[in-house]
Point group: C2
Chain length 469, copies 2
């Protein structure tokens, strides 16, 4: 195995292994930073100087630097060259609404699903958009608003959703919400008000969503999930007024609803007068295929589409958008009015400006690259270090399901989680997302690779491999 | 009556009347601007030059300029001196949640109650606070949060409310809401969940509030209002689980709940296990007396206090705060969680910084002065031009009730409103706030003097006097 040694003035020493020179250089730099040998703020040689010293093409070095900057190991600032990044201490975590926050609080590495990388929230771009939005706002936009939200944002969203997700709507049918959960609450209370008492859900999903539907006085029978997505046939005979689906990327199992099943869902809705609720939580993030358009685009009259900025930007923005069939708009508006809930106009105006200026598209493209690299790294390291574990589901979104194999069952998950927590790693078992408990189901972890800050991600993956063996 | 005439190069001609020189100068400048003789952007002489020309003290002129700047007739920018302000065309109005928006839409002058002066929203101060807040935010503050809102804001509010309103609370008992309406929704659904089916209200109030309580499945029997406030005795025998009061400044009648009635309300709560809900919508705005402390300060265990930034800053911020008795906090948090509603963290962080820096206090002091002047002008002009009309209620808040006299009754109000609308004036009759219709009640208008932008206020008052005769 060829080796290259380099000693660079004043203090850069790298051990390069293997034949893949760029990968070897990246690995050497990572290890030097991880071990602490290269401290935060250490200046690196220019890519030209390092390339010369190592006998590599300059592009190879520049690409390696770029990769490590993307991963958060290095930082580059105009005029001050490339340096070792300031390594923030692991974030002191917030109380999650639907997540095991106590586990998170004690853990150095957070791989819980549901949250994007909060460290990459584009603070200065957002502030810039807020500045423009505040300057351009009309006085009356600071007053009481249409319960649906500011017209200006709804018009922008109608355009955006048509372009990016194929959603067919006008501003009139969009209701700005503070998250998917609020949209679901409005849908459940509205349907209950119209006499529906059954709201079918997928047999794997988020507990809070089931809680919200039930709090509105509506039952939530589950549909099984197979490799084609939710088993739509099981809607027969349930008397459901609605069904909640994640057709683009089942959460958490990660399958996509097939074309046949999509058609079946729409046929069910048309035949029964029921409503399909499409939770498009991560429709922007597809890594190995172009995204399918929203289910709503096939049947805007029977599908309520919900998108959100919680994954594409940050949950804290509290911005989501419900696109409702015409026949439901008035009742939904009345539900929202009766709930007294409103969304701040400054967030709305800023979001509108953020989309208008193209900053939102650019941020999503950047994030897509970032998460794809993380997913690739996760898969590569697991393949290498934990051959008994298989990653299931589409290359999409911010999470992966790791089937643990070795005859492990759902009942073994708590033990694995405890072991992980002792190793400083917050993870979640698949069983926590099941509608009904099944201790005999194969064990799996739901890993959120979006969550850690960049600089902690590689360490989190190694810690995970350590635990999974 | 002495007169002073002034002609100033190049084009400032003023006619000064009366002995009160500053008032005369202000009046002359106002008329020159109102008539259009001095167009938008016209440069005025320096206060020194004008004082010399008119034989006035320089301070007299500077004060008059200051007053007219505060009223929005003039504007001053560093380095470019004093100019006639750009006169925005009357605002194209927004759809109000609980207000007759179609009337507003057609009207040049908006005197509908419920909204502060949106033109004086401190945009650049708010943006400055947002900049600081964004820079200081921890990454995890962009994630999912405690349903009560950010701890940092709740701690700041606990301090602020103790200092300004005497409220006794800790951060743990504060729930950040998007407005009073949401707080009321959470209270009504929580109480309903605990078996309460009756939520007494004042016999005059906001229709939306009654709708929200009823939408939660709870009845709203009304308590009469007399000069001592709500008649608490009428709670006897109602079997109410709660009562909604505006003790500081009854909305809309404008009386304050007397000390005896306050004690009676707390005795009722202690004796029956009921809850007093205190809507402190305008507690910061008292003009002729120091504000009474919040009712909550007497009995934090039986009073739920609700304050809001909707009147002190702008409804569009969608920020309010519910301070709950300990025994209700968990159930309220669960109600909020089940409603899926959240408040954006950037608004919360910015509000925290706005209070911390003192900008909120300063804004309220400025607003108090502004609204007091408006109220004084309204009363003075009505006294002079419409002697049959009397202004009732405390000198407080953002609205006044005009008793129309002349034997006019509630049934005459629609006619008066129509006449006002023809004259380009949006006003609201008292009858619209009554819990139960009473066409024989004396006719009155509820006039929001906070609503118009400064430059339109004097014109709005004159138009109102024209209509009332």
């Amino acid at each position: 195995m060829p080796q290259t040694w380099a000693t660079l003035a004043p203090d850069l020493y790298l051990e390069l292994r293997g034949t893949r020179r760029r990968a070897g250089l990246e690995q050497a730099l990572r290890e030097a930073v991880r071990s602490g040998r290269l401290g935060a703020g250490t200046a690196l040689p220019s890519s030209r100087a390092l390339a010369q010293e190592l006998g590599l093409a300059r592009n190879t070095v520049a690409d390696a630097y770029g990769q490590l900057i993307a991963e958060g190991w290095l930082s580059a600032r105009q005029g001050s060259g490339t340096r070792v990044a300031d390594r923030a201490t692991p974030a002191e975590p917030a109380a999650g609404v639907s997540r095991p926050s106590s586990a998170r609080r004690r853990s150095a590495y957070d791989l819980l699903p549901g949250t994007p990388d909060l460290a990459s929230f584009p603070r200065s771009l957002w502030l810039g958009a807020a500045r423009k939005a505040l300057a351009a706002a009309r006085n009356e936009e600071f007053g009481y608003q249409d319960p649906r939200g500011l017209l200006r944002l709804r018009e922008r969203l109608a355009q955006y959703l048509a372009r990016v997700r194929g959603v067919r709507t006008t501003a009139e049918r969009i209701i700005v919400c503070s998250g998917f959960a609020q949209a679901l609450h409005l849908l459940a209370t509205t349907l209950n008000g119209q006499g529906a008492r059954v709201f079918a859900v997928e047999s794997y999903g988020i507990g809070l969503h089931r809680d919200i539907i039930r709090a509105a006085g509506v039952r939530t029978p589950p549909l099984a999930i197979d490799s084609s997505g939710a088993v739509i046939d099981q809607l027969r005979g349930l008397g459901a007024g609605a069904v909640l689906l994640t057709p683009g990327h089942q959460f958490p199992l990660g399958v996509s609803l097939t074309a046949q099943r999509r058609v079946a869902a729409l046929e069910w809705a048309r035949g029964s007068g029921g409503l399909v609720v499409e939770d498009d939580y991560d429709g922007e993030f597809r890594y190995d295929r172009p995204p399918l358009g929203a289910l709503q685009s096939l049947a805007p009259d029977v599908v309520a589409y919900v998108g959100t900025a919680s994954k594409s930007l940050a949950p804290g923005l509290s911005l989501a958008w419900l696109v409702a069939p015409s026949k439901l708009v008035d009742a939904l508006v009345e539900s929202k009015r009766s709930s007294g809930a409103r969304t701040g106009v400054l967030e709305q105006l800023t979001m509108e400006e953020f989309i208008r200026s193209g900053a939102y598209d650019r941020h999503i493209r950047r994030s897509r690259l970032l998460y794809r690299q993380r997913r690739d790294l996760l898969v590569a390291r697991l393949t290498e270090r934990s051959p008994g574990v298989s990653v299931t589901g589409m290359a999409a979104g911010l999470h992966a399901v790791l089937a643990l194999g070795s005859g492990l069952r759902g009942r073994d998950e708590p033990g694995i989680r405890t072991r992980a927590h002792r190793a400083g790693l917050a993870v979640q078992g698949l069983a926590e997302f099941r509608h009904d408990p099944d201790p005999e189901a194969p064990a799996a972890l739901v890993v959120g690779y979006g969550t850690p800050p960049d600089h902690a991600f590689a360490g989190a993956v190694e810690a995970l491999c350590d635990v999974l063996g």
